[in-house]
């Protein structure tokens, strides 16, 4: 009897770390692979024709038109402003607009990055729908 008890006390004193480390390493590798993909999101844009038709119904004062002329210059409702002050100008315009529709035109030479930054600013200022003319 005593011998059995002694043997029982000689059980596992340290937890086996190997399976834990195995699983943790696999998780780390998977996270490293999946992280760049998980950070992708997108901005929805409307079809030009459909959006233009809808936008035409909205009164001129309610519709906000942005034309990207170059990397530094944009036109907002035909008023030329520097790109840096777009967000400040757009916010009150969008707040006053009940439809919150923004129509974006873009010159061909402008980079995609600049175009998306304008869309992003419009979204951040509260635009509910973004229509891209010609797209």
């Amino acid at each position: 009897m005593r011998r059995t008890r002694v043997r029982h006390e000689e059980g596992i004193f340290e937890p086996n770390m190997t399976p834990l480390i195995d699983v943790s390493l696999v998780l780390v590798v998977i996270l490293m692979v999946a992280t760049p993909l998980a950070f992708q999101s997108s901005i929805a844009v409307q079809r030009a024709a459909q959006a233009a038709r809808k936008a035409a119904i909205v009164a001129d004062t309610e519709r906000i038109e942005i034309t990207i002329v170059s990397q530094e210059t944009v036109l907002v409702n035909k008023n030329q402003i520097p790109r840096s002050s777009l967000a400040a100008l757009l916010k009150p315009l969008l707040d006053a607009s009940p439809s919150k529709v923004v129509v974006v035109r873009c010159a061909d030479g402008v980079t995609h990055g600049s175009f998306v930054s304008v869309l992003d600013d419009a979204k951040a200022c509260g635009a509910s729908q973004i229509a891209v003319v010609g797209g």
Partner: protein, 131 residues
């Protein structure tokens, strides 16, 4: 003496791998082309099954994971959208931040002509630490 191989860690790892593959499989359905997506703060239209059109840094075009030529893009996209279950699917344009807008515009037009009803432009989530 150990007379049997301990299969528990093997099963552990295998199950974790299976789960991870199941989770990441939809995410990995994009072509292996280098694309520097433009950064943006706004987030929408995510975690949704979509058909992606990739325009890489070098100008190569791909639909999901298949690389296509500029001429094949329209018919290939039309065929992809005509597949059952793809009615009204979101078409995401993944274009490089340095690409000219005319190229992106062309992709949007082709997508529209191929029957895409919902379009989105892919961005990379901007973190507050890196403005």
């Amino acid at each position: 003496m150990i007379t049997k191989i301990n299969v528990t860690p093997i099963i552990d790892v295998a199950l974790v791998l299976v789960i991870i593959l199941l989770v990441t499989a939809p995410l990995l359905s994009v072509a292996d082309l280098p694309v520097d997506l433009p950064q943006a703060r706004s987030r929408e239209a995510e975690d949704e099954r979509n058909v992606s059109i990739t325009l890489s840094t070098a100008g190569a075009i791909a639909i999901d994971e298949d690389i296509v030529s500029a001429d094949e893009l329209g018919p290939a996209l039309q065929a992809r959208l005509a597949k059952s279950g793809n009615e009204g699917v979101l078409v995401v344009v993944r274009a490089d931040a340095g690409a000219p807008y005319s190229a992106v515009h062309h992709l949007l037009e082709v997508a529209r002509a191929a029957g895409a009803t919902r379009l989105a432009i892919a961005t990379r989530q901007r973190t507050e630490a890196k403005p």
